[in-house]
């Protein structure tokens, strides 16, 4: 069973909400990467989204743009990222990893080769930001290799498209909380709640919400109706100041701990 599917099944059985931190591969430093992935898990991450750096991250705000630039300045590419994931998997066989990025690095690496190497390294899902459902056949080799393709839904998504997305979704569906770029602060809970309800009326697939989730309060609010919460820019910004692997791990633990606690408190309150 794919680790993603297994993890969501466990979480649902335990009535827990998933915490999905996002970090950019190679940032804040290549040395920090594997210890940082373990630290995220220790601090309560249920899944990890790992950003593949790209020179032209069109959907990202300044925080993740800069993380991409820093990683690229250190020459981080897919081969290095697969090596890190392989190393992480030596001691963590359970935590699902989703690669998030843009199409061109995968295109140039080669879809079949990417699919093979990703599975071999221990990747479970792939979210290609600029590859919407209409162009999904481009990366068919990923599906064939058993990788879960994570699709996005957005506030602008029409009812007809939403139905098609729910049909095609594997692993989980990632709902973008507002029309904008990552790291912006435009969260409108009412609208997100309504949209997540619309998705849940159509499909049993878990729904993750991301964009604009910055702290324990916003995460707990989202977790009242979503299955998973993605936190990216706020974490990346926090890690950017960490100059050693230990400092990065400590910053990650301090950042995630209150969020994990808030999600668990919310789940207990809901159960009671």
């Amino acid at each position: 069973m794919n680790r993603l599917d297994a993890r969501f099944a466990q979480l649902q059985a335990a009535r827990r909400k998933a915490l999905i931190p996002f970090v950019t591969a190679g940032d804040p430093s290549p040395d920090a990467m594997v210890p940082l992935l373990h630290a995220l898990v220790e601090a309560g991450a249920d899944l990890i989204e790992l950003g593949v750096p790209f020179s032209d991250p069109m959907a990202d705000g300044p925080v993740i743009q800069h993380a991409n630039e820093r990683a690229l300045a250190r020459g981080i590419g897919l081969t290095q990222i697969f090596n890190w994931i392989g190393e992480f998997r030596q001691t963590d066989a359970q935590t699902p990893i989703v690669l998030m990025g843009y199409l061109n690095p995968v295109e140039i690496y080669g879809y079949a080769r990417f699919a093979h190497d990703a599975v071999a390294a221990g990747v479970d899902g792939v979210l290609l930001v600029d590859c919407p459902l209409e162009e999904a056949q481009t990366a068919q080799a990923l599906d064939a290799a058993g990788l879960r393709r994570i699709f996005l839904s957005a506030p602008t998504t029409s009812a007809a498209r939403l139905a098609a997305l729910c049909e095609a979704a594997r692993g989980f569906l990632y709902h973008v909380a507002f029309a904008g770029i990552t790291g912006a602060n435009r969260l409108s809970l009412g609208a997100v709640r309504e949209r997540v309800a619309a998705i849940k009326a159509r499909t049993p697939i878990p729904v993750a919400v991301g964009f604009g989730v910055r702290d324990a309060a916003s995460a707990a609010a989202i977790a009242q109706f979503a299955d998973a919460v993605v936190i990216g820019s706020a974490l990346v910004e926090t890690l950017a100041g960490a100059h050693t692997p230990d400092a990065a791990c400590m910053a990650a633990r301090e950042f995630l701990a209150p969020i994990r606690a808030a999600l668990d408190a919310g789940a207990r309150a809901h159960a009671a």
């Binding site: 061109n104 600029d130 209409e134 162009e135």
Partner: protein, 411 residues
């Protein structure tokens, strides 16, 4: 009938049939954007496909092209230049004579009308050389729409006059400091603005790249260049040209000239890309001549990237050609063999700039000077009775400072 059918190769491509309903030109094009933009793109496609067949819209556009842009633009026989070169006759399609000084206005007039039909109140645009920014600011001023233009910080520095022109036209010019600080980064930033303000904002893309329907729409609006030229050639010269030459950055002036001639198999079609310091140096912007298929800015096309798929920084003396991608229709024309794409260096373009100025009294844009240079090269290889039609896509006033600086002068 049988004989006629046999004369035509059975595999002949009808180039007027592209793109398909998904915006694909063979393997290229498409809609490679984040989910949030799929709905506004669908809305735009629906509106555009309706308006392009609407007689009232077409009449409105034709009226603006005639009375505001100043069309038709003439074809000028550069006799002194041709004589000096000593080969084929060089003809210039004078897009530099349009209002605002380049072909870019053909597209912005059209897209602004669509924006108004869709009830959008805010225009955004990206610009490299500033010609598209000026053309967007111009139409926004005319229709009373707010206008924000994204421009790379590097380009702002080398195109100061156009930056000031945009400000005079009431537009806000936003410097883009990410990445290479040029056109590609301005495009990224404009896409980020659009994804944030989709409800009231219309994004006027300035070239035949981007997601569907932009490569189709921008092509259609610039195709007036080739339609006019084809009719002018038949009326004034009694035949079609033997070859077409245009410069290719994103490729809008080139596809504009080429499109009406694509099914005329006897007309050779050549695109001149910016070879910068030379294709072998790596410092160039020749996506078709030296790039590979990839995905950038919403479409599959030829891109300049490294072995990790990272888009590489480009170099050209002309800001308008300094782009690491190219319109997907050009990628398709390259692969099908219908058009060929060659590199022209900075030095060759500058030499052509001076040659044209001194023989014909025309200051061409540095972008267009690449086409002139290629036209001159080609003319040398062809007989005096042959006709080469070069798209003089813009005027060079904006480049005077750049040229002076290269020659060690400060104005």
């Amino acid at each position: 009938m049988q004989a006629v059918a046999n004369d035509k190769p059975s595999a002949a491509i009808d180039y007027t049939q592209y793109p398909d309903a998904h915006g694909r030109f063979g393997d290229y094009g498409g809609s490679y954007v984040a989910e949030t933009l799929m709905a506004p793109l669908a809305e735009l496609t629906e509106n555009y496909l309706r308006l392009r067949r609407d007689p009232a819209f077409i009449a409105e556009l034709d009226h603006d092209l005639k009375h505001y842009v100043g069309r038709p633009s003439p074809i000028y026989h550069a006799q002194r230049l041709s004589k000096k070169v000593g080969g084929a006759q060089i003809l210039l399609k004078r897009e530099d004579l349009n209002h605002t000084g380049a072909h870019k206005i053909n597209n912005t007039v059209g897209q602004a009308l669509i924006a108004r039909h869709m009830g959008k109140t805010r225009i955004i645009a990206e610009t490299g050389a500033g010609q598209h920014g000026v053309a967007s600011a111009t139409v926004a001023a005319r229709l009373g729409l707010e206008c924000v233009v994204y421009m790379g910080a590097t380009d702002i520095e080398r195109q100061k006059i156009n930056v000031y022109r945009m400000k005079l036209l009431g537009a806000q010019v936003v410097p883009v400091t990410s990445g290479s600080k040029t056109l590609k980064d301005a495009l990224n930033e404009a896409l980020r603005d659009w994804v944030t303000n989709v409800a009231d904002t219309f994004y006027i893309i300035g070239t035949v790249a981007g997601p569907h329907p932009y490569p189709l729409m921008v092509r259609d609006f610039n195709a007036v260049v080739g339609r006019e030229a084809r009719a002018q050639m038949l009326a004034e010269y009694g035949k079609l040209p033997d070859a077409l030459v245009a410069c290719v950055g994103g490729g809008s002036n080139a596809i504009g000239l080429f499109h009406a001639f694509l099914n005329d198999a006897n007309v050779a079609i050549i695109g001149a890309e910016a070879a910068g310091l030379g294709l072998a140096t790596g410092h160039h912007a020749a996506s078709l001549a030296a790039g590979r298929p990839g995905v950038l800015h919403g479409n599959r096309t030829y891109v300049l990237c490294d072995d990790h798929g990272q888009i590489t920084e480009t170099h050209s003396v002309s800001a308008g050609l300094d782009y690491p991608g190219v319109g997907p229709e050009h990628a398709f024309l390259k692969d099908s063999g219908r058009a060929s794409y060659v590199g022209v260096t900075d030095d060759e373009a500058l030499a052509a700039f001076h040659e044209l100025a001194l023989t014909e009294g025309i200051l061409a844009a540095l972008e267009s000077s690449h086409a002139v240079a290629q036209g001159i090269k080609l003319a040398r290889e062809m007989g005096k009775d042959k006709l080469i039609l070069v798209n003089l896509s813009g005027r060079g006033d904006k480049d005077v400072h750049t040229i002076a600086a290269r020659e060690g002068l400060s104005l």
